[in-house]
């Protein structure tokens, strides 16, 4: 269970990114965070990953305050969260295989586990033929699938996707959404930030709308109204 408790974030230039946001997400839920650019979606996700600290309020994961974790606990927490970004953020000097293996190495998995899990997860995102390619040799859709495979490989409790389809064409967007849905069906919490109306209509899951840093709507039925 993830809880945002009256969280505000004011940046040093005194622009308000989030204001008193209260939100809870149950395990195995699929939540889409929607809103126009600059509404505060990314800030919300960054607060959850502890990339940013809240100005006020607290963020809890399984009743632990994320921002008071020690460095070690933080590493362990982050291994439970898989992340997918709009700009993919793959390691440019590593092959597809190594990008995914790196996450497993960081989590302290054995070589045997890595050798068996990486091909498996690449199969899941349909990228087996590209295993020895470098990121710059892949298309946008392929890069995003590598990023998803990387997010998945440690069997995280939560997958966070920040505009994962922002740089993709409709066909690739559809593929990515289907993969995320499949992951959620297998029991992983998915938090998806997007401003793509088509995706929301396709998903028919919970939608949280944010505007000017405030939650303006929390809809279980999954319609995009903003």
């Amino acid at each position: 269970m993830i809880v945002f408790d009256r969280v505000s974030k004011v940046y040093p230039d005194s622009s308000v990114a989030l204001e008193e946001v209260t939100l809870s997400i149950e395990p195995k839920e699929f939540v889409s965070i929607v809103g126009p650019s600059g509404a505060g979606k990314t800030t919300l996700l960054k607060l959850f990953l502890a990339e940013e600290k809240p100005t006020e309020g607290a963020v809890y994961y399984e009743s632990a305050n994320i921002h008071s974790l020690t460095k070690k606990e933080m590493d362990i927490f982050r291994r439970k969260v898989g992340m997918v970004f709009q700009d993919f953020r793959l390691l440019p000097n590593k092959t597809v295989y190594e990008n995914i293996a790196f996450t497993m190495e960081a989590a302290g998995r054995t070589d045997e586990e890595i050798e068996s899990d990486v091909p498996h997860v690449l199969e899941l995102v349909d990228l087996t033929p590209k295993v020895w390619n470098f990121p710059h040799e892949l298309s946008g859709g392929e890069k995003q699938r590598v990023a998803i495979a990387r997010a998945l490989v440690n069997e995280p409790d939560i997958i966070i996707a920040d505009e994962p389809t922002g740089n993709l064409d409709p066909a690739n967007t559809y593929d990515i959404v289907q993969i995320l849905k499949k992951i959620n069906d297998l029991g992983t919490t998915v938090i998806l930030a997007t401003h793509n109306k088509g995706i929301i209509d396709l998903l028919k899951r919970r939608v949280v709308a944010i505007e000017h840093g405030r939650v303006v709507r929390d809809d279980k039925s999954g319609k995009y109204f903003v």
Binding site: L49, E51, K72, M83, F102, T103, A106, A107, G108, D111
Partner: protein, 308 residues
């Protein structure tokens, strides 16, 4: 798990070195400049020291006798001088030998040789060359000779001149020049070493700056500090080792080329043979500096990007 981790860190370091070959090449080249400076600094210290020692050895006293002096009287005097406790060696150069030496020295100067021929007779006096046990004792030896105590009172003075005092002034001056060069060299050394270390440090920092996005991704997937830092430190060490070996190899032709020049310029100091004789020492200094600078620069530079 510990060894798996170490193995992975080292492997990743090597991979980064190969895959970012342009950046690696640039870093290694900059590091080579640093190590070359450190290497040349150790040479310059040795050059100054040897020159100083050589100069001190050069100090001696030449007693030149009048041409009419009897060889017997000279040899007697030689005997007296040899019995002085300060004196370590006295060499006798007869008039004929002095002439031969003179001719040899001026073999290429026809005008001097023809002037000598015209003179008909040998204008040079015999010479006693005196070396003291300790440079500080020359003054007393010279005074003993100048004061005329060396000869029995009834004989005519056969000593033409004692050249110690002229030489001494020049030698003292040179000694002062060398010791101030030594001081200046030391200041320059520290200055150059600091600058080149800073440059190497900055280059490595730039390499890590280029990887900052990567580092933030590593942090976000939950990689631990050591796991992120490790490969960069390994990378720094590889830069150091490669730059160190290249520098040691580069010094071979460089010192060989400079060898002849240094030998004639700094009395008998051949930089090439010095390099070969002290290879282990110099190799240790250069390799250790390279590895130390590389590892420390990486470890310090990466800290900035580990805060996410």
């Amino acid at each position: 798990m510990f060894w798996t981790k170490v193995k992975r860190i080292i492997r990743t370091g090597f991979f980064n070195f190969w895959r970012d070959s342009t950046v690696s090449l640039a870093s290694v080249l900059v590091m080579m400049v640093t190590l070359l400076v450190i290497g040349l600094i150790s040479f310059s210290g040795a050059i100054l020291n040897t020159t100083l020692v050589e100069l001190k050895n050069k100090i001696d006293i030449n007693v030149t006798f009048v041409t009419s002096a009897e060889e017997e009287a000279i040899l007697e005097l030689k005997h007296t001088i040899e019995s002085l406790p300060e004196v370590s060696l006295v060499t006798y150069v007869s008039r004929e030998e002095a002439l031969t030496l003179f001719k040899e020295r001026h073999a290429s100067d026809q005008s001097i040789l023809s002037a000598l021929d015209e003179l008909g007779e040998n204008p040079l006096g015999a010479v006693l060359n005196i070396k003291a046990r300790d440079p500080a004792q020359y003054a007393s030896v010279a005074e003993f000779l100048e004061g005329g105590n060396a000869l029995s009172p009834d004989t005519v003075n056969i000593i033409d001149r004692v050249n110690y005092f002229q030489n001494k002034a020049a030698i003292d001056k040179l000694t002062r020049v060398i010791s101030s060069a030594d001081k200046l060299g030391f200041a320059l050394t520290i200055f150059l070493a600091t600058i080149s270390i800073l440059i190497a440090f900055n280059t490595i920092r730039l390499t890590i700056y280029l990887a900052r996005d990567e580092i933030s991704v590593m942090r976000l997937v939950g990689a631990s500090m050591t796991y992120i830092q490790g490969p960069f430190v390994v990378l720094g060490v590889i830069y150091g080792v490669v730059a160190g070996i290249s520098t040691l190899i580069l010094l071979l032709p460089l010192t060989y080329w400079l060898g002849g020049t240094t030998e004639s310029f700094f009395i008998g100091f051949n930089i090439f043979s010095y390099y070969l004789r002290h290879f282990l020492e110099i190799a240790f200094i250069i390799m250790a500096s390279g590895i130390f600078i590389g590892a420390l620069s990486s470890a310090l530079a990466i800290r900035k990007y580990l805060k996410v």
